[in-house]
Amino acid sequence: MARENSIEVDDVVRDYGSTRALDEVSFGVRPGGLTGFVGANGAGKTTTMRIIMGVLAPDAGQVRWQGEPVTAEQRRTFGYLPEERGLYPKMRVAEQLRYLARLHGADGTQARRRSDTLLERLELGGHGDDMLETLSLGNQQRVQVAAALVHEPVALVLDEPFSGLDPLAVEVMVDLLREQVDAGVPVLFSSHQLELVERLCDDLVIVSDGRVVAAGSVEELRRTEREEYALHIAGHVDLGWVGEVDGVRILDKEAAGEEQVVVFQVDRPGAAQDVLREALGRGTVRELRRRTPTLAEIFREAVA
């Protein structure tokens, strides 16, 4: 376990003046998994990522790699896509990537091979000799992604990697990230696009006001949510009685076409069965379904 390629953020605290930006933030990013990092604006995602990359120092706590406090040397083998994008506008694309690869320790041949391969993968093969500033914004974003990957990083920290990418580039990016994950690279990425996070992530970290409010595998987070059910009954009947069953709380009631739907939450084993029995006695039950909350719901619940 100790030698495993995982990033652990341990009780990290960071203040900006009198404001506490991060309050004992702890979570892990495991290899072979894609970890989504979500939170409202200003929740502390970027600050956390900058601390992981060593661009910013924590006031307390530490970042660990393979179980030990991460060294500057090790951090240089990480790949980083900062929130604020940017490369040299007046430098040729391929040359730029080679330069960054070499700064990360690649030799001339490796740098050339990797930058060529990535440009090809990102469908920028014909733009290697162009000045970055002459590329379209979408293509500049792709180069930015290449810059984070060009030194074959052992871990990836990506701040909003999908923002600014066109739908095609998003798919290319997803493939690239999956490849990295399959190769055993721990990947942490932040995003506002919850559907995308839901589709991609294996693990999830939710932050709110500088605190981690939920962390774990997506499965886990869904399971540990309280039990929720949706009951569909034919006809226009009053379903207010559901709320009177012991251990049941109504979350939502609505009419959908020819049926009534009530969404309720139970905090007593067997309560759902009681509701069903009662419903069968009162009318025609079309459906009773256990609901798994969507990521958006988990998120809303967590930050509430």
């Binding site: 951090r75 240089r76 980083y80 940017g86 700064l103």
Partner: protein, 396 residues
């Protein structure tokens, strides 16, 4: 990677190649070299052309007088290339006609009691004076022989030697010119490459690449790469200027000036390197304080002032001011070489001055590196020097 050596080398190499591809930089360097070569050639064309006259004579006496006149002209003008070209014509009328047609500058015509020199509108004063000396000398020689003695005996004890109280290798006019040129060269090069350092830093901040770089290499390696890359370019430009000047002097044939400047020139290079390095890290701080190119106008003011004031002292200050400032680091890079060209500076003075400047450079580089590291990642707003002094932590 093998230590931070490789990092600063990569950074420095990028600085150099980026600049070498920058058209503005190439053009301005080309213009600078042209101006240097042009001003040397032009000065020589305007002031340095050896005097040369065509004179018409009618007989052998005239010819031999013209020959002696050439010697006198050379002695008087101090120019061994001075020339008096003789063309023999048939008679006085033909000689006067040649003058009138401007085929010759003057005619040397025999008279009863000597010679007559004839010009068109006027007789060139230089030629007239040389001819007068030549005539006195030849008649003195003839008269002396007749009297059974020689010119040497007659003029014994009349030798006048020239000496100067300062022992500088070149005349004070030339020294002044060279000192001015060196001060200007340091001033211009230090300012332009200093601002280039600041710009190179702010480009990385403005385009946010600095965060990627900061995650990849130690900030200090980034700073060193920039400083050394630009110092290398600055030194290369100075050497190119020196080489151009030497070639231009070679072309116009004024070789005497080269060895005279030599030793002072080597001191100049030493002071240049130390003075430039002392300021270099402060220029990078000027860049790291800024967040956009526009901010450089205000953040580079201290650097510009640190160069402008000593420059003004070097070109217009009193001897006393120059002497005092030649021991003040950075200012000494402008004023000490000027004093050295002028000569009469004990060897210990430039050595002490250079050591002081080197110590100051070491201190400023440490301070600059600290300020640079503290402000570089502050990309949201401009930091002020006052905040730096107070040592506030950045709040991003």
């Amino acid at each position: 990677m093998s230590g931070s050596t490789a990092w600063w080398r990569l950074v420095a190499a990028r600085e150099v190649t980026t600049r070498m591809r920058d058209k503005t930089f190439l053009i301005s360097t080309g213009v600078l070299l042209l101006v240097v070569a042009g001003s040397i050639v032009l000065t020589s064309l305007l002031g340095g052309r050896p005097p040369s006259y065509d004179v018409a004579v009618t007989d052998r006496a005239g010819s031999s007088l013209a020959e002696v006149t050439q010697d006198q002209l050379r002695a008087q003008s101090g120019d061994d290339e001075a020339k008096v070209t003789v063309s023999e014509v048939d008679d006085v009328a033909a000689a006067r006609a040649a003058v009138d047609d401007e085929q010759v500058d003057a005619a040397l015509l025999p008279t009863d009691d000597g010679f007559e020199i004839v010009g068109r509108d006027e007789v060139p004063a230089e030629l007239s004076s040389a001819t007068q000396s030549a005539l006195s000398l030849t008649s003195l020689q003839a008269n002396a022989e007749e009297a059974g003695t020689s010119v040497e005996d007659l003029t014994a004890g009349s030798t006048l030697r020239e000496d100067t109280t300062t022992s500088g290798p070149v005349s004070s006019d030339t020294a002044g010119g060279i000192a001015f040129a060196m001060a200007l060269l340091f001033f211009l090069t230090a300012i332009s490459f200093g601002i280039a350092i600041a710009q190179s830093v702010v480009v990385e901040k403005e385009n946010r690449i600095v965060e990627i770089l900061a995650a990849a290499v130690p900030l200090r390696a980034l700073l060193w790469g920039k400083v050394l890359g630009n110092s290398f370019l600055a030194l290369a430009q100075v050497l190119a200027v020196a080489l151009t000047a030497a070639v231009a002097l070679l072309i116009v044939g004024n070789l005497d000036a080269i060895p005279a400047v030599g030793v002072a020139g080597l001191w100049f290079l030493a002071f240049f390197v130390v003075g430039f390095l002392a300021l270099a890290s402060l220029w990078s701080v000027a860049g790291s304080l800024a967040t956009r190119q526009e901010d450089l106008q205000s953040t580079t003011v201290p650097g510009q002032a640190l160069l402008l004031v000593p420059y003004l002292i070097a070109v217009a200050g009193s001897d006393k001011m120059i002497e005092v400032t030649s021991f003040v680091p950075i200012a000494s890079s402008l004023t000490m070489p000027a004093r050295l060209v002028d000569g009469d500076v004990p060897l210990w003075q430039p050595i002490v001055s250079l050591l002081l400047a080197a110590a100051a450079a070491a201190l400023l580089i440490r301070l600059g590196a600290r300020w640079y590291e503290r402000t570089l990642l502050q990309t949201s707003r401009r930091t002020t020097y006052r905040e730096l002094m107070r040592g506030n932590r950045d709040e991003s």
